[in-house]
């Protein structure tokens, strides 16, 4: 996964302040093309802020960000970053199909091409049969899958996710993980996600970036490339890494040693 010529995202010296508070103080982060990267850390460590800056929804007070080698100043034109919010944010006045099409409407595609991409995305999450339903008719898990379809429909080079599955029950969450990994394997999309769930981080990620608060900074980067996939959360190797990660959250890089 690593070693691609050009990082998908390259952040240097990112600083973000709210009032007198340093939410991010000089964060350097290189996201490799095609990898799955998890951002973890306690509340207030700036992981959601970092994700917001990577997405272009927030701007940094200092530092620079390159997207596929291009400075992020021209972000408005750079369509191929998708952002998945914590809530599904389906528009209640649009059918499932039209919700998935939302991101494509900014891309100047023809009607037929758009419909085809929407159908593909819905098929990917297994919801083509409810394409004409209204969002309020769907369960929470189905709504999440529609939101995922909406994000992947734009064929993003980078998919950013802010605790996207945190509101789902464990079983549905596990299904979403499998679905996400399948889509990732099929498309080679770079994925960066924020999570509070250590198990989710270990099951999904190639690398885990652990942040610490006040001021928000990166404490360490944990490589999981050696852990074989698919990763069953109850398999011994995986469970060990989850325990280790939890320990690091409390005790720092020494962890269990």
């Amino acid at each position: 996964m690593t070693g691609a010529a050009q990082p998908a995202l390259e952040a240097r010296g990112l600083v973000k302040r709210y009032g007198g508070l340093d939410v991010l103080s000089g964060v350097d982060l290189s996201v490799h093309t095609g990898e799955v990267l998890a951002l973890v850390g306690p509340s207030g460590c700036g992981k959601s802020t970092l994700l917001g800056i990577l997405s272009g929804l927030l701007s940094a007070d200092a530092g620079s960000l390159d997207v596929a080698g291009v400075p992020a100043r021209c972000f408005a034109q750079w369509q191929r970053i998708a952002y998945m919010f914590q809530e599904d944010r389906l528009l209640p006045w649009r059918s499932v199909r039209d919700n998935v099409a939302l991101g494509l409407e900014g891309q100047g595609l023809g009607r037929a091409q758009r419909a085809q991409r929407v159908d593909e995305a819905l098929r990917m999450v297994g919801l083509l049969h409810v394409a004409d339903a209204w969002p309020h008719e769907l369960s929470g898990g189905m709504r999440s899958r529609v939101a995922l379809a909406r994000s992947v429909a734009v064929l993003p080079a980078v998919l950013l996710m802010d605790e996207p599955f945190s509101k789902l029950d464990p079983q549905t969450r596990a299904q979403m993980h499998a679905q996400l990994l399948r889509i990732h394997a099929g498309s080679g999309t770079t994925v960066v996600f924020v999570t509070h769930d250590m198990e989710e981080a270990v099951v999904l990620a190639d690398r885990i970036v652990r942040l610490v608060p006040s001021p928000g900074r990166i404490a360490e980067v944990i490589e999981l490339g050696d852990l074989p996939r698919p990763r069953d959360p109850v398999a011994q190797g995986v469970a060990e890494r989850v325990r280790d990660l939890r320990a690091r959250m409390v005790m720092g890089p020494e962890g269990l040693q």
């Binding site: 997405s55 929804l57 750079w78 998708a82 209640p92 900014g106």
Partner: protein, 281 residues
């Protein structure tokens, strides 16, 4: 257990029966009351029906109805244009809204009858008089609804659209417009009801044709049966527009709402209605 749709159909039929019975009882009461009274005070149903037929075949009938419709539509059209633009502007800027809020309060407390008097002074006997009164009555209702709708737009949805790099104009069209539409619609419906009623008041004093003018003429000549005939006609027309145009349009536009969700528009509608109560004449 009965299937749901037959149950609903049964309830509908029973409701229709009740409505018919109510109408029959009212007509009967009217007929009985008219028996003991001179016809220039309370003409009976058959007499009004005759007057209605005469009216229908009179030369000026179509012209009068069209004249009133034209004025109401012109006033409402202007009110929708100005009310929507102003409502969007107030919704977009808190400072602007704070500054102009008292003006809106003044608008809402001035009675339509007063606007009518001003209109006579300014425009005399002309179309502009009625159009002006309809506009002044309808515009604040639409403005208030659109403003409330603009404030109720979910910032989360705007962020979502931004995350997909939609342009400002696209966000306005795809997020703001559908969010505001239910509010606009409830305001427009209210404005239509009020505008239609005040147009008649304006026409009684500021026009030389139209339904309001004919109503006053009939009253002046003590042709009470004609007054009744016009009234019956108006009520019928309103029910037709309500049931044939507005209700179906609302159902079609807002079919995405589930029955369990309270429509956000109903609340705003009630509030706007409460605010504008004094303007009804």
């Amino acid at each position: 257990m009965k299937p749901l749709h037959t149950l609903a159909r049964g309830a509908m039929a029973s409701l229709a029966g009740q409505r018919l019975a109510l109408a029959g009882a009212l007509v009967l009461l009217w007929w009985a009351g008219a028996q003991g009274m001179p016809s220039f005070v309370l003409p009976g149903p058959s007499r009004v029906l005759q007057a209605l037929e005469v009216l229908w075949h009179s030369e000026t009938f179509t012209r009068d109805v069209l004249a009133t419709c034209r004025r109401v539509l012109a006033g409402l059209g202007l009110a929708m244009l100005v009310g929507t633009l102003a409502g969007l502007a107030l919704g977009a800027s808190r400072a602007l809204a704070r500054f102009f809020e008292p003006v809106l309060a003044v608008f809402n407390t001035v009675s339509s009858a007063i606007w009518a008097i001003f209109a006579i002074i300014w425009f005399g006997i002309s179309d502009a008089t009625t159009v002006f009164v309809v506009f002044m009555t309808a515009m604040p209702l639409i403005l208030t609804s659109v403003w409330q709708g603009a404030q109720a737009v979910e910032p989360q949805y705007v962020d979502l659209a931004r995350s997909f790099r939609l342009s400002r104009w696209q966000i306005l069209r795809k997020i703001h417009a559908p969010s505001i539409l239910p509010h606009f619609f409830s305001g427009a419906r209210l404005a239509f009801g009020f505008g239609w009623r005040v147009s008649l008041v304006a026409e009684t004093i500021g026009a030389s044709d139209g339904i309001g003018y004919r109503l006053r003429q009939a009253a002046d000549l003590v042709q009470t049966d004609q007054v009744f005939a016009w009234t019956v006609l108006l009520v019928g027309l309103m029910l037709l527009i309500e049931g044939g145009v507005l209700k179906p349009a609302e159902r079609r536009l807002f079919r995405w709402k589930s029955a369990s969700l309270a429509p956000p528009s109903s609340h705003a509608g009630r509030r706007a209605a409460a605010v504008s109560q004094p303007t009804e004449s």
